[in-house]
Symmetry: C2
Subunit: 207 residues, 2 copies
């Protein structure tokens, strides 16, 4: 990721530029440490404190630049602003209709060429690069889908989250990366109608 892209991505976050002339270096150090930490230890076991230590800065600076672990993760992953929070909020609305809400949420990201690009890059890298694979694992499990499953009163939350992830990533692969027809050109409503019940079952059905 270029520093310019980093900067553009963080513009919607906390104001950092101007106040601290050397800030972009500090910010870059924190991002590099975060990228490495998320990839090597996974989302769950990574702390802001550990990232700060690895970057050689105070924890307060990490909070200053990025606000929270979710937001730092989103910047590292180049996710749209509020991505993780929004996904978890969808789940907090309860199990009814969760499959459809999540399917629509994911398709909206993937239908947007700008938001799609870094996700595609992650999937491309994850099949051949262990660090990217670790990032994808953390993303599917700890950071996102497990937190969705955790809002529900169901057993096997981690397994359910990874099953949902398998359908969503397979859809991303065939529709957006490899572009298999007629799936690649099917309208969003058609895809939602087929995928939503699958996700609903993975999250809420009895095993």
């Amino acid at each position: 990721m270029s520093p310019a892209a980093d900067h553009a991505q963080s513009a919607a976050g906390r104001p950092a530029a101007g106040r601290r002339p050397a800030g972009s270096d500090t910010r870059g150090l924190i991002l590099a440490a975060a990228r490495s930490a998320f990839a090597s230890t996974g989302y769950d076991a990574t702390s802001l404190r550990g990232i700060a230590r690895a970057a050689g800065v105070d924890s307060a600076l990490v909070v200053h630049y990025f606000g929270s672990k979710d937001r730092l993760f989103a910047v590292v992953m180049r996710l749209p602003d509020g991505f993780v929070e929004n996904a978890v909020a969808l789940a907090a609305q309860g199990g009814d209709g969760l499959g459809e809400r999540l399917t629509r949420f994911f398709l909206a990201i993937w239908e947007d060429p700008v938001a799609r690009e870094p996700m595609l890059a992650l999937i491309r890298s994850a099949v051949s690069n262990e660090q990217a694979a670790a990032t994808l694992r953390g993303f599917v499990t700890d950071a996102l889908l497990v937190r969705v499953a955790a809002t529900l009163e169901v057993s096997d939350q981690h397994l359910r989250a990874t099953l949902a992830g398998s359908q969503l990533i397979g859809m991303a692969m065939l529709r957006y990366a490899v572009r298999v027809e007629p799936l690649a050109s099917a309208d969003v409503e058609t895809v939602v109608a087929w995928l939503a019940p699958t996700l609903q079952r993975y999250f809420t059905a009895d095993p």
Copy 2:
């Protein structure tokens, strides 16, 4: 693929060695032409005659070495012997239980480290290489899943085939390529119990 691997793969097919000393060259020419044809025009539009022409040999020689288009495709894809025929035979048993039969069939391939390797290589290549992507498209659509769907009396056979493909490839990605837990270590029966109804619905449910 090494010539040795080619040779080993064809050992279960028609006997070619011995009778024709220069055969390995001819065989290699046919394979190269087939690989290129499947990737560029897809499984459906590729004919044994076209492959023979591209390889500069008589069609009868292609049949002599590989038997049929299915078998030639399987060698190019390094698929287990009879892979395509077996999948289509599963479908011919009818729609009832098709989801479970297909899920078991795919998992059996993926659980075998030797059979899995070339499939993994194809998925890895397909996300970044257009020729591999075209091969994967042909595999998911014309060569396999569409022929499964074609045995059923349902609408939208191509769309159903690609939906099933999205779940199967997503499972391959997360369980075998990226190895996301607990999916990577879940026992086969657990995965079958979750996936079979998804495939069943994609192939036979009303849209």
